[in-house]
Amino acid sequence: MEAKVLVIGAGIAGMETALLLAETGAEVYLVDKEPSIGGSLHLLDYTFPTDSCGLCYLEPYPSPRFCPTFESARHPNIYIIPYAEVEALEGKAGAFTVKILHKPRYVYEEKCILCNRCAEVCPEERPHPYEGRLSPQKAIYKPHLRGIPPTYVIDMDYCTRCGKCVEVCPTDAIDLNMQPKTSELSVASVVVAAGYEPFDPAKRAEFGYGIFPNVLTSLEFERMVSFSGSTHGKLLRPSDGKPVRKVAFIHCIGSRDPAIGRGYCSSVCCMYTAKQVNLAKRRNPGLEVSVFYMDLRPIGKVYEQYIRRVQETPGVRYIRSMVSSVVERHPEKDLLIRYVAEDGSLREEPFDLVVLAVGFGAPQGLEKLGIELDKWGFPVTKPDEPHKTSREGVFVTGAARSPMDIPDTVVDAAAAAFYARSLLTQPFSSPYPILTSYPDLVDAEPRPGVFFISCPELSSELDIDALRAFVYSAYGASFYALEPSSDAWDKLVEKAKAEGVNRLVVVPCGLRPTLEVHQKLGTLGPYEVVPILEEAVAPLRGDKAKATQQAKALLGMALARLLYLYPRLLAKISADSFPPEERAVVVGAGLAGMTAALSLAELGYKVDLVEKEEEPGGLLKLPRVVLDGIDPAKTLKTLVERVKSNPFITLHLGSEVARVEKDGRGYLVELSPGGEAIRCGAIILATGGREAGTQQYLKGTHPRVLTQLELERLLKESSPSFRRIAMIQCVGSRDDLHPYCSRVCCYNAVKNALLLKEANPETEIYVFYRDIVTFGRYEELYTRAREKGVIFIPYTLDNKPKVEALGEDKLLVSLKEPTAGEVKLEVDLLVLSVGIEPSDNASLAEKLGVKLDDFGFFAEEHTKMRPLELTEPGVFICGLAQGPHFMEEVIGQARGAAFKAALYLKQLRGFPETIATVNERLCSACELCVLACPYKARFMDYEARVARVDEGLCRGCGICAMVCPNGATQMRAFDKKALMAVVDAALAS
């Protein structure tokens, strides 16, 4: 069977899926229709809720490394196929044949040296794909920053074939007659991660996009507030370049709009708009901002607080309204927004700039894959297997499945990786055969060498002989010039071996060494890559003397560090000495825990499933009514059967975690009662949640006040009939007690209302809400409920509905409403939508040394990029332990967490390059390092009275070496003495 996977789309979802799969030893083809990979990753300098980049967190290693784009490009198991599309998919799961169409780039990747001369002479312009009309590009252009591959490409829609670029190209890299090519790949499974198609707002002409220059899409505005964008973070009007003083954002452009066939909610626009408001205010604190919205949908754990903070910023107004049109005023080109306000009045207001929050559409071209698509173009999936398409072996993930934000996409990618991997038969293996050891150089004579890959640009702009003389006279280093070629790295390694060089300084031309090259260099000795092209040649172009001077300093700094490392820091070290424990513990046997345990078992790992109750099931055991989603009762039955019969799973019922101990190999988990101790390498927390209690609105005192779950029990057990029912949303949610949105309550309320209406159309149902948060496809249900006659009445935190008892079986619900005046309803049932609360996690968190967030859920390592990981390496979360989620989301999380745990169990521990070491002679056992270490990698050996390093846990940050008062703790590659030498070299003139 083919051990290969095709991932279609190299955005956040695709790259993450590919990286995760590649880390398990699978080979991945990563196809993207754009000339370089990255998708919308490169668009987003800032992401909510942290308002900073941090996308480099996305990689799957236990240590933080780098940007996922670079990792994908460097990974030995990932084959990037840019600028290509899937033409056809034949065969079946396990043996697919994929036809790929390679679009012509007109520039040879291997020849292009990125000198930009072609773009300088090109006379034609095209609109920039990100900056839009704000900053046009030449017809021959370099893909976005950090693009992989960075090679130039010609847009033939704009090229006139004048041939000027061909004339100036110094390396003959341009071929205007390049033809499209096709190729075939054999793969076992396919992951569709094709992302989204932003809505084209020109289709909603009343907003004036494409007609009025000062109407932007949210993507264009995103670039405007980014430092790397067209205006470098300045807010300027496209029409006249004047600073923007008053800006309006309009929500739901191309979302929640059945009239144009887009009846779903795009799920992410509310939050990205809030972020853009925040960034805009940061760029220009005096800016006046108005946001026109229908409902706010802060569906993540910390989003409610974020959006509230934005709303409370001075100068920011959120206006619940329906915008009818945007018109331009002459001659100043201001924009007049006409809208219907909450009280029903028609109003007008002028603005300098209008930003349209465009929604996400389904990606194009999916029909070629032979999968069933829904009416919006998204692949059809089942609720209990939300990543499986109608065709076996083809999986879908990220925004291509349903519009979603980055944390959900990251979770989705892990789930898709799980499915795609489960079709491959070969076991998990590490893709790095060489990253296991460093050579022993303790007694070796230092032999420094500078390896200079002399591309024409470097050799023409620098005095090479002067550099050669300098490194020899100042550092005794030999100087080797190499021709740039595709096998330059191999030649370099060969040369270094032949010459016995054990301290390497490498000067690459334009491109960075790949991960594989890094590993090869690492086997030779300590090395440093010096980007002389960027740091000396580019800024001082034309001044050969100065550029050479700068290059000397850079080489000197690199050599100084390598030569001044203490020999004892160069002892042989092998990551093989920490074989991980290949067993996992899952805490909690609800939907999340059981799914995670079964997934791990499916990947071949032994699992101990710990449940504090006497029966597994958790919230699945509650009686529920079902409309279109997962049936909890059926799911419970199958899951329990499968868990109990699985030979890899040991179920510990009525047990709790009593104690956790930890070392470089993993954890020792002790259970109570019984005192059984389990050695494991990874822990998944699936401790679940519960319906929050409340005493508001006569709950607990009046028999006709129920929660939604109590209503469902009633509906399940009998078929009661009511004349008039009121529901109140957000009871104890999104307030000071639970300052987060529980995500599922609006859906549940709408679902229950629909079921009640179906059973008895005469029943009147009134839903009091703050915002109806039926995101994604759930929006359709909300539309259906309104069609069926369910009445929705908005209320606010300072104007809540009032409830009085009218005897035993009646209640009076009243609300002051801006349009209808005072609403008074006599109802015979009041249903409260109370939120989700986490279980009591505090003591477990303390035992594991992990943190809880402000609400009592486990705090992820990074809310955005690592939503399944905790700060403790090897500990993962899924389900309600992480935050409120739908059942189908919980399944994805559990699959993802299981996959990540499996990956972690296989990973080698230890990071030889930068690990901390202790000179025991100097250690005074003061324990400062133990206190400072963020990873608990430092511990005391009280017998020997020295501090030690658990090399399996050390991540090499160097913080312990900094606090050590005696210089006893030293970093392998960043020793203090060496760094002082670097400082000296930096300033030696």
Partner: protein, 138 residues
Amino acid sequence: MEFEPRIVGFLCNWCAYSGADLAGTSRIQYPPNIRVIRLMCTGALDPIYVLRAFLEGADGILIAGCHPGDCHYLNGNYKARRRVAILKEILKELGLEEDRVWLRWISASEGQRFADTVKEMVEYLKAKGPSPMKNPIL
């Protein structure tokens, strides 16, 4: 000849160094007055490096790490912030110019911000003149 300040930059591996690298690879122009030294984390910056750099003739020191909340080692940048604050106090007590030490947060995507910061610092130091710590009396 115009005074050209010499700056030593201590940048963390994950954010600021990548940001500087991005400035380089995307050919964003910035003055060549800075010599960049890579650290794994700004939390591992020993103030002694800063003092050494001043004694060796640096006119300014730029320390740059991940934005608050984004440290790849959980909280190293906060440690750096505290440490730099104390270092500045000490420099002030010694009568040395603490405004020659800058601490900035620069993420891996902020190549432009890195370039702007270097430009701004060069301008600032040009206006301020050479560092008094270059004086051999010290």
